[in-house]
Each structure stands twice: as structure tokens, then as C-alpha cells.
Amino acid sequence: MKLFKSYKFRRILLNTIIYIILGIMCIIWVSPFIYLMLHSFRADGGVVTNDAVLPHRFTFQHYIELFAPSTDTSLNFPRWFMNTFVVACFSCVISTISVLAVSYAFSRLRFGIRKKLMNIAMILGMFPGFMTMIAIYYLLKIMGLDGNLIALVLCYSCGAGLGFQISKGFFDTIPRALDEAATIDGATKNQIFWKIILPMSKPIVVYTILTAFIGPWTDFILAKIIMGDKHDNYTVAIGLQMMKDPDHMTQWFQEFLAGSVVVAIPITLLFLKMQKYYVEGVTAGGVKG
């Protein structure tokens, strides 16, 4: 009994239990990724059989096959990767600028229909995206843009301004006194946005960039509808899905795993790079302006 009364013992006991629970959750969470990684290097080909959880032999072959297929096929991963990268870069730049500009306008400027516009944006945001997809497709077709990468950039970036709520919330926390001080010094609204607000909002800028960049890598339905059978303009999401359709599954399963790993690389790199600014931004925001 004495044992349980000892504070030290109770603390150790509690911590052990908590760490065991956290450990189990961690394993559950991380195991699909490890599985994906390991099996993308697995040497004995084909789809996984139930009883081979851990591969025995490893090879780099699937990655080579992914970028330089030895068989005659319409799967062209390097091309899809570049497509996605280009689309991601363009839509990232355009949508980041438009989101931040819209947020700034709603946060700082006062004009007649401000409230109404915000409400409309809110209501439009309530419709699930895939409801409008067919309509988007036919509109793009009328413009002659179906099966075209420009169409993807347009779709990903043009509506982005509607997602202003989070960054507007952030801008609202920056004291208006700063704006006023700048105005007294002769700054225009435009100058305030670029020189005062933006440098103070690094975390939200980084957040916007990240979400805008990741979008094209993960979007499947819209991209598939727009691209149809134009294999050359596919993005990685459609391409990877194609690798695991019944036509390709038995041959391409491990290349599919390898592809999934490769797709994670640019996003991870961007995140690591941005992480630094993200932290910096947070601490800078904490210093009294």
C-alpha cells in the first residue's frame, strides 16, 4: 500500500500508462506510411500477399521503372509529375495573392457591400465543390480549355479568394493602430498591405501557400473530369489511380507505391523550408509592434 502512496511511484505508473497508450496510437498512425515505404522497395514483385507484412529483400528497381518504364505503356509518371508541379506552382502563387488580398480588403477596408459580400462568400462556400464540377467542365469545354493544364490552374486559383476567412481572422488581430500610424506617415492602403501587414503575417502566408500548393497534388475528381483521356496532361493523382486500375494493377502495384512516396517529396521539402519561416513568423508576431 505504501507503494501506491509514494508520489514518485504513482507518477511513474501514470506516465508509463500514458506513454504506452500514446505509443500504440503512434504505431497505428505511422504504420501505413512505413508499410508504403518498405513495400515500395520490396524485391519480389506483384501485389502484396496477406502474410508478407515485412519484405525480405529490397530493390530500387520500382523507382527506376517508374521514371523509365521498360515496357510499352501509356503510363508516363515523370510527365505527370512535372504537370502537377507546374500547376501547383502557378496556382500556389495566384491563389496566395488573391486570398491575402481579399482578406486584407475585408479586414481593413470599409465599404458598403462588405458585409453582404462576406455573407455571399460564406454561402457559396457551403456548397460542396463536386456539385459544380460538371458545370465547370462544360464551361471549360465552351472556352476550349478542357483537357488543358491552364484549366486546372484556373480552377484551383480563381475560386481561392473565397477561402479568406482564416487569414481575415488573422489580419483582424493585427492592431489597427499600426495602419493608422502608417497612414499618418503618408502610406497608402496598398503600401500598408505590402509593407506593414504582410511582414507581420508570415504564419498565415505560409499556411496559405502550403494549402494552395498541396491542393493540385491531391485533387482527383475535378482533374479527372477535366482531363478525360488526355494522358499527357494528367496529374499525379489521376496517374497513380490509373496504375491501380484492373488493367495495370498486377504489373504496376509497386510502382504505384513508389510513386506515392515520390509525390510526398516536394510537399515535404516545401514544408520543411516553410517551417522555419512559420516559427519565425509566430515569434515575430509575439513581439510588441
Binding site: 500477399t49 501509356s74 495573392i97 476550349g144 496598398n190 473530369i225 483521356d229
Partner: protein, 450 residues
Amino acid sequence: MKKVLAILLAGMMTATAFAGCGGGSSSSTDSNADSKTESKADDASKGDDGSKAEADMDPSWADESLFGGETDITLKVWAPDKAVSLTKEQVEAFKKHYSNIKFKSIEVVAQGESDAATQIMNDPEKAADVFGFPSDQLDKLIATKVLSPVAQGFVNTIKANNAQKTIDAVTEGDKLYAFPETNDNGYYLVYDNTVVTDEDAKTLEGVLAACKAKNKQFILDSGNGFYSCMFAFTGGALIDGFEADGVTQKFVEYNEDEVIDTLMAFAKLMKDYKNTYSSQDTANISSSFKNGKAGAGVDGTWNSQADKDALGDKFGAAKLPTINVGGTDKQIISMFGYKYIGVNSYTKFPRSAQILAYYLTGEEAQTQRAQKLGWGPSNTKAQEAVKDDPIIQAVSAQSENAVAQVKIAGTFWTPMGTLGSELYKDSWKPEDRNATKTLFDKIISNVKDE
């Protein structure tokens, strides 16, 4: 800085706007052309009423005059990835043969057959003019009218040259809706002939015993309705298209006791050979052969190449085995489909598309596919040419004992899958007749969506 940016952005906007306008005008002319071709498509399907004598026609080649003056022909063909390069060769041969006709381009694009119908219906105008698809998508394609019926001039030749079953499945009323391409879209028994002898392969009991003796698995995807419908079919509960309402699955008259007996026999084998009989996705079969875990499996023709590569000299193929039900050996009845090549009714060159489809399903093209890709032909003469291939033999033997995969209700697959997975469950008691009957009744009423 910001001025440059503003100009840049504005420039981009205008650029896209212009891009839009440019495209717009061209696509509007497209749609004009469309309305014109609609009527032409009607010509091709109705007007040709046997006008061009099919009697003295070389079976693979149509008469040049059938092109009906179409020129600058642009067509798109959908073929599965594996068949793309062969199809390209065939298209070249096609163009060469009709050297008097002016072709602008015939493009061959990879498109899996399994979702061809979905892709077509997304936007028929942008889809392929000539496309391959399996028989289960027929009713969808016919109902949505994207499939243009075979021109009358070809009908008799096609009927004379292809297996009767493939013709029956695609005939509705007096119209033939697509060109039969293969007679092989089903599954059969694949085995490692060092584990299972050809004699063992005749009965399911023999296959399982042989696998058990060598400590290998027998793989059958019992939770998937496409395969597990064989349990009900073998018992005699066969399907026969739709009821009069056009949506409810219709069953033939069957003896319920017989079905229950058969289901119990299957369940008993699953129990008796508990660690041998394994229900896994068919995609696992080839890799299990490769690592020596499996001795036999029921696999589809589309995985034949992978299985052959995995087994090499040990590859064995046969029709599905028999199962012993109350003393008599009953042949296992499977689901079996065919593949067709269809012509999109939105095509701008209906006559050329028909002729190309006709050539691509002709004797010569089917023989090439059979030899290079192992696709079982529907053309009777092409069947002769490849009759020694063990897979094609196995598949065509199984096709005699199969239900055609046409007019299948959407509510069919899931309950049938449940039937298989219930029987396969560890907790299932194979000798419990009442439970089997309750399960079967529930499955049937679910299929009929009552």
C-alpha cells in the same frame, strides 16, 4: 514592384480571356458539325440496308464505297494499355488497305475497358469514336444511346462469323449493338502442375486435397460477387436478365433444396480444407504463385500473363472443376462475359468508324490479338487458329458452363459477395441446413431488392 505585379496579373487575366474566346469559336463550329453528323449517323445505321453486297466480301475488309465520301477522317480509338501498340499496328494496316481514302489521323488512346462506359458518358462528344468495352456495360450504353448500332450491311457477316452467344448478348430487338471482339471475359482454374495434376484439376475436392498435401493454398475470391455467384449458379439458381420492369433481376425456376445442398457442399469444403481454401483478391494469385504460397486459384483471363510469368513451365489451366453434391459431381457454373467494340453515336465520321470497328473485330485482327495478347477470339475462324492455347481452351470450355454477364442488376453483386463471405466465415456451420436456407433466402430477396 507592385505595379509590375498588377500589370502581370491583369495581363494573365486577359490572356486567359483571349484563350477562352479563341477556343470558343472553334468549338461552336464543332457543334454545328455535330448536328450535321447526327443525320449521317442515321444514314449509316438505317440507310445501308444491305445495299452493299456482303456476299463476296473478304470477311475482314469492307467495300471501299461504304465510306460514303467521308474524307479527312479523324478518329479516336480506345484500347486497353496492353493492346495499344497492337491496335496501332492494326490501324496502320487499315489505313494502308484503304489507300484511296483520305485519313487525317486515327489516334489510339489507352483507356481501361472496365470503366469505358463511365468515361464515354462523362462526355460522349470528346470520347473515342471506336472503343472496346465488356458485356456488362452493354445495357448502360444502349440505354443512354451512346452506342450506335451496327450498320445493316455488316450484320449478316458478323452473325455468320462469330460465336452465337456473343451475338445473342448484344442483340436487342432487331438490332446488333456492337461488334463482338472476344469470347473470353471470365475466370478459370489456374494451377501449378507440380502441385495439382491434370487429373486432380477435374474436381474441386481433388484440387483442394492436392494443395493440402503440398501445404499450399487454393485462392478463390469468395467475398466478391463476381466470383461467389458461382455458389448459387452451380446449385441451379441461374439468372435470366431482368423482370418485366427492366430493373429487377430475374432468376430461372430452380429447386431450392438443390441450391441449399450445393451451398452446404461448398461450405463443407471450405471448412474441411480450412487452411488451404483461402479467400483473397485475385490480384494476389500471381504473386502467391511466385513466392510458392499458392498451388491453385480461380483467376481471370486478364491476369493470365502475370500467372504465366509467375509459374513458367509449371503453368496449368483448366475449366472450373466439378463439386460433389450428395454423390453426384456437378460442374461449377460461372459468370462469363464477352468484349465488344462499339461505335460512339456522337462520332463525326459514322461510316468510317463503323468500318474501322468492323476491321478491328475481323478475323485477321482477332487472330493477331489472340496470338500476341492471348485474348480468346469470338470469331469462329480465329478460334480455329488458336485452339491449341491451353488458356483459350480452358476459357472456352468454361464458357459452355457459364451465365452470360449481361443485364445484371446493380443490386446483384453485393448480396452475392455476402453469400460467399458468410459461407467462408470461421463461425459458419456447414451442416446447419436452416441457417443456409435463411441466408440464401435473404440473399435472393436482397438481389431482387425487395
